[in-house]
Amino acid sequence: MSKLESDLRNVFKNIFKLNLRKINKKTNYKNTKNWDSLNHVKLIMAIESKFKISIDPDQSINFISFDQILKYLRKNVKH
């Protein structure tokens, strides 16, 4: 697992209060109980400050699964 992925899993764990083991690429807003609009905003803010990027609000609407966010970060975070 890349550092990027494990960092993102940690963010998911803290925001959605999930067990780390249960976070995988299939985690999405439908199968995650705590993924409501408020926690979505928190998630984006946490990701922005963790990876020191700025995410456009239009873009963040499309962040509906762990996999999608990971793909976005791979493209946009400098290693």
């Binding site: 940690n10 963010v11 764990k13 803290n14 925001i15 209060k17 408020l38 905003v41 928190k42 984006i44 803010m45 946490a46 990701i47 922005e48 400050s49 963790k50 700025s54 609000p57 963040s60």
Partner: protein
């Protein structure tokens, strides 16, 4: 400064969560922007101060609605109200005055709320400067004046109703509007503040919450070398130490100025240093750059004894409890020793660089209070100096000459009822006094006012003067008359004036008054705790007989007054 992610991470740390020693406080936020971000920061800062924030859900921009539905069973400890007009959707209705009107209406509501639920502490933000990036066509100078004026009015109104006014305006200025606001956050989540903004507001709120959770600390004990000045006095000499307007010395000078300001606000200072006392004396008299003078310190221990031993002497000299002392020393060794051998002392983890000294004290020590300051607070240092003078004076007398000593002090007591002038000081004493306090019942201003109103209370407030000066208001007794008996609910004296037989005089005066009122029985209550053991035998030694574990009875009809006339008593 912490980023949002760091805050979230720290807050979900399980080890911290399980800490049962944290004091719980239920804090409700009512802001006109989204609160989740600020709440997370407040939770974080409070945990650092050993308080667990319980944060009930609240809707944003529903201040009036939510205020009107607060109930007793909500058990709210602290209510935070914040109004921000630099919000984009208000751009067409821009009027500072209308906005302020809203806040004043809220304060009226809050007053009623406080009457209903006296235990709730309320924090309200004052009016921020206009963010002209959002309101480009406004007259800047005019608005500035209006805001200043309104904020002053707010201050008066909040002080009168015992509400904490958070200087939101100043906090924004201190980091700059551009850094404080994040309109990106506002667009995406209506949360308005940047990480920096959250940090500064949350840190300030957490200080207020701490000041209502824990008692205020009284004394700051400082080291000298590399703390009050740079370098080591013993090696570099009085002129060699770094303390001046140049380069490294400037930081220490600034620190000394800050310490002086603490002292002006009622914090007692002490020195605890391993040095030769003669060197230090010489240094203070020769080096003109030192901002603090030796006379600013009420207790001084400069020798080569272990500090954890010396600090006991400081505590007994000032007659204060050890847990109201804060210890500040740059040496980790000394701090660790202090923590190990004297765990009651509050030890500040002094940061490596001098420029962070002030922050570390602001963050961790408990001196903070932005509520109204009572005259007695400013006079603290003066009063402790009086105590010291009296102490060294006492040494001239033999142990057997107590009466001569007391007579020669030429004490004068002035007694009065509780009135508007001394009310705040009375509440303060009720909350601060530990050693000579029989019941240690704590009151807020409103619960105390209620207590006075609901019962038939006879009260005596004591002012003491002696040959050295005026000690101010230092004692209080309130007794509750129920038909032919009377119960002493509160009886306390400030530890500064103990050992002068004052306690006997005040109880005699109470008895005299009760006899005139034809009360038959007087009941003294003693609730034992760790700190007030010295009260244990007082009632017994003064003619009361125990009727239960906590209660002592005195039959007033068969009691004869004995006034030994050492102290002059008059009524105001």
């Amino acid at each position: 400064m912490k980023s949002y992610n760091e805050i979230i991470e720290a807050n979900s740390n399980k080890i911290l969560k399980k800490n049962n020693n944290l004091k719980k406080k239920k804090i409700k936020f009512l802001l006109n922007f989204n609160t989740f971000q600020l709440e997370a920061y407040v939770e974080y800062y409070l945990k650092k101060k050993l308080i667990q924030a319980v944060l009930p859900k609240s809707e944003f921009d529903q201040i009036f609605q939510e205020l009107s539905v607060i109930k007793k069973k909500d058990n709210i400890d602290i209510l935070v109200i914040g109004n921000e007009f630099n919000l984009i959707y208000d751009i067409n209705n821009f009027s500072i005055k209308n906005f302020a009107k809203q806040i004043f209406t809220q304060i009226e509501l809050l007053k009623k709320l406080k009457n209903k639920f006296p235990k709730i502490e309320v924090i309200i933000f004052n009016i921020p400067e206009v963010y002209y990036q959002n309101f480009p066509n406004q007259k800047k100078q005019e608005n500035k004046n209006i805001i200043n004026k309104l904020n002053n009015e707010l201050k008066v109104s909040c002080e009168a109703s015992n509400i904490y006014l958070l200087d939101y305006n100043y906090l924004i200025t201190s980091v700059g509007q551009k850094n404080f606001y994040s309109f990106k956050n506002y667009y995406s989540s209506k949360s308005l503040l940047s990480d920096e903004g959250c940090n500064i507001i949350a840190s300030e709120i957490s200080k207020i919450v701490r000041s209502v959770t824990f008692p205020r600390k009284k004394c700051l004990v400082l080291d000298l070398d590399n703390t009050l000045w740079g370098g080591i006095l013993g090696e570099e000499g009085p002129e060699g130490i770094k303390i001046s307007n140049s380069f490294i010395g400037e930081k220490y000078l600034q620190f000394q100025k800050y310490i002086k300001s603490l002292s002006d606000n009622g914090v007692i200072l002490g020195i605890l240093s391993k040095n030769n006392f003669s060197d230090v004396k010489k240094c203070f008299s020769q080096n003109d750059n030192l901002f603090l003078k030796l006379s600013d310190f009420s207790s001084i221990r400069i020798n080569w004894e272990p500090k954890f031993k010396n600090i006991n002497e400081i505590a007994s000299e000032l007659n204060i409890h050890k847990n109201s002392i804060v210890f500040f020393d740059d040496s980790k060794f000394e701090r660790d020793q202090m923590k190990k051998f004297n765990p009651e002392i509050n030890v500040i983890d002094v940061p490596f660089s001098v420029e962070n000294y002030i922050d570390s004290i602001e963050e961790t020590a408990f001196f903070y209070s932005n509520k109204k300051f009572i005259t007695e607070d400013y006079k603290k240092k003066y009063q402790y100096d009086l105590v010291n003078k009296a102490k060294s004076y006492k040494l001239k007398f033999k142990d057997t000459d107590t009466m001569d000593y007391l007579k020669s002090l030429k004490m004068k007591i002035t007694l009065s009822k509780i009135n508007e002038k001394n009310f705040s000081r009375c509440v303060q004493m009720l909350n601060k006094t530990n050693q000579f306090n029989f019941t240690t019942t704590r009151y807020t201003e409103s619960t105390f006012a209620n207590y006075l109103k609901k019962n038939k209370i006879i009260s005596l407030v004591l002012k003491l003067e002696d040959k050295f000066g005026n000690h101010g208001i230092t004692g209080l007794i309130t007794a509750n008359i129920q038909k032919d008996k009377c119960i002493i609910d509160n009886f306390l004296l400030s530890c500064r004036i103990l050992g002068r037989n004052v306690e006997k005089i005040i109880i005699e005066e109470l008895i005299r008054k009760l006899k005139n009122l034809k009360v038959k029985n007087l009941i003294g209550v003693y609730k034992k705790n760790k700190k007030n053991i010295q009260c244990a035998n007082f009632y017994k030694n003064n003619g009361f007989s125990a009727i239960s574990k906590n209660e002592f009875l005195l039959n007033l009809q068969s009691y004869h007054l004995v006034n030994k006339k050492i102290i002059l008593v008059k009524y105001e």
